[in-house]
């Protein structure tokens, strides 16, 4: 077993060797521009791009003509939200989203507010969940777009997208979802989920970084977008710029593997590793708090607050494990995770949260090592924690007059 062990598969995933294999010829022999329509080099590159388009479309039950390749899901989110808002602005200037969306959606909404749009930020409950009824109540005559993520990147909570999509469809509101975290972990089908726009990323599903896609519905209803990048008119004018052929080919290969992962036992194996980790940790220590719904959750996510162990100190203590924390000390803003805060998690507990993201390449041996290491280090940090000492003495921490700084 090699250390450090990678357990941060929500941040990114290792590029699958089979994906790399598929990409390599497109960096060596097939180097044409997919837009060169009049020679063999261009045709070969275009064939690679179109094969990938089909593979990506199949993963989400779409038609290949509905796939627009981008530089990644951030661009896809930007294109979806800005593109709809600017195209349909004469119809209305109201948008709906949630307070736990990825910054690629939230900050785009903030930018639109400066352009005169109004945005409703729906609040999730303590489990991190929204309801279709909340969305319906927020819809106004001038609402043009609703953007709700399929699954959250921090707590892995899966929203009732099918129901939300149905409500949007019934009211004529365009529905966008960011499905970056859920692809290859749970089924994603744009038809049954009533989705009009859907963002995808390659590197969260064992593909290369720097490439993503946006699904744009073409029929019943047909969704129109104003582009945000202008130039050569590639991707039917929605995304100008020379195709990153090798990246796109890699995304296609990754999409095919992601589709297989749902039925070949991979997802079940990852889920059982995640369950093993959670059961193991709970058996070894007290004062653990699960963040987010357990029932409506991605199979590879575990987000736990280890009370009395500050997150950054924890990550230093378990440096053989690559994880992530909602602690303020790990963020540039020095604020604890806005997602946990939106769920109403106590700031104290938000500081102690650790996110584990299990992946395709993790083993049972690694999980058992993680359980042992975390158990040992939580004990060490709690022995050093004045808060744990006070609680063990029977003091209620809320009764102390703390000096904020």
């Amino acid at each position: 077993m090699k250390t450090p062990i990678y357990l941060d598969n929500h941040a990114t995933t290792r590029c699958d060797p089979r994906v790399v294999e598929a990409m390599l010829p497109y960096l060596t022999e097939v180097y044409g521009n997919a837009g060169s329509r009049n020679h063999a080099f261009g045709w070969a590159a275009q064939a690679g791009v179109e094969k990938a388009r089909g593979q990506v479309a199949e993963l989400i039950g779409a038609d290949e003509k509905e796939i627009v390749f981008t530089s990644g899901a951030t661009e896809s989110d930007n294109l979806a939200v800005l593109g709809v808002a600017r195209f349909y602005k004469e119809k209305g200037r109201h948008l709906i989203t949630s307070n736990i969306e990825h910054k690629a959606v939230l900050d785009t909404c903030h930018a639109l507010e400066k352009e005169g749009f109004e945005v409703t930020y729906l609040e999730v409950d303590k489990d991190g969940l929204l309801t279709a009824a909340q969305v319906e109540a927020a819809i106004r005559p001038d609402t043009i777009l609703c953007s709700i993520m399929h699954a959250n990147n921090e707590v892995g909570v899966v929203q009732p997208i099918t129901e939300i999509g149905a409500v949007c469809r019934a009211h004529g509101v365009i529905f966008h979802t960011d499905a970056v975290q859920s692809l290859g972990r749970i089924p994603v089908d744009v038809a049954s989920m009533n989705v009009d726009l859907l963002s995808l990323s390659a590197h969260k599903m064992y593909g290369p970084k720097g490439v993503g896609a946006l699904y744009v519905r073409r029929g019943r209803p047909r969704i129109r977008l104003e582009p945000i990048v202008f130039g050569g008119g590639q991707e039917r004018g929605l995304r100008s710029g020379t195709h990153a052929v090798h990246q796109i080919v890699g995304m296609g290969a990754a999409a095919e593997l992601a589709r297989e992962a749902l039925t070949n036992g991979e997802v079940d194996r990852v889920r059982s590793l995640r369950d093993r980790l959670w059961t193991g940790l709970q058996a070894n220590m007290d004062e653990l708090y699960l963040n987010g719904s357990w029932e409506h959750r991605l199979p590879h996510n575990l987000n736990v607050s280890f009370a009395f162990c500050e997150g950054e100190a924890m990550m230093m203590a378990i440096k053989d494990l690559a994880v992530s924390s909602g602690s303020a000390c790990t963020s540039a803003s020095l604020e604890p995770s806005y997602v946990l805060r939106a769920m109403g998690v106590d700031v104290e507990l938000a500081h102690t949260s650790i996110r584990f993201g299990i992946g395709r390449f993790n083993t049972e041996e690694e999980i058992d090592y993680a359980i042992r290491l975390v158990t040992e280090k939580v004990g060490w940090l709690r022995d050093m924690s004045p808060l744990y000492e006070l609680v063990k003495e029977g003091v209620d921490l809320k009764s102390i007059q703390w000096t904020a700084h």
């Binding site: 950054e312 000390c329 020095l334 500081h351 808060l387 700084h405």
Partner: protein, 134 residues
């Protein structure tokens, strides 16, 4: 966070972790910070009648640099006078540990902990003197 070797050393091998009897007359306890801010330090100083800090113990909830800052101050004050300890400034701690700018508040907290512990000790002394005089 890329920390200096000194922070990592104090974090991985913290000096003087522990607790003393907070009710003892010769022990001053400082509890500073707030759980909501992500760091709380408890510093305890055992002080002789002639004002020498004979022992120092800490417990800290906080990031690596908060733990390192508290560990460092226990070393800095041990065997020193109250006057010396009161004169320690956060900049000395930050400089010694080469703290990055976003972590300066950890050194401020450590300085506050020293002052709070000594204040607690002096309050106990004053109360004792008052009860002896009455």
């Amino acid at each position: 966070m890329a920390y200096s070797n000194k922070v990592v050393d104090h974090y991985e091998n913290p000096r003087n972790v522990g607790s003393m009897d907070k009710n003892a007359e010769d022990v001053g306890t400082g509890l500073v910070g707030a759980p909501a801010c992500g760091d709380v330090m408890k510093l305890q100083l055992k002080i002789s009648d002639d004002g020498i800090i004979e022992d120092a113990k800490f417990k800290t909830f906080g990031c690596g640099s908060a733990i390192a800052s508290s560990s460092l101050v226990t070393e800095m004050v041990k065997g020193k006078t109250i006057e010396y300890a009161m004169g320690i400034e956060n900049s000395q701690i930050a400089e010694e540990l080469k703290l990055p700018p976003v972590k300066i508040h950890c050194s401020v907290l450590a300085e506050d902990a020293i002052k709070a512990a000594i204040a607690d000790y002096q309050k106990k002394r004053a109360a004792k003197a008052a009860s002896a005089a009455s």
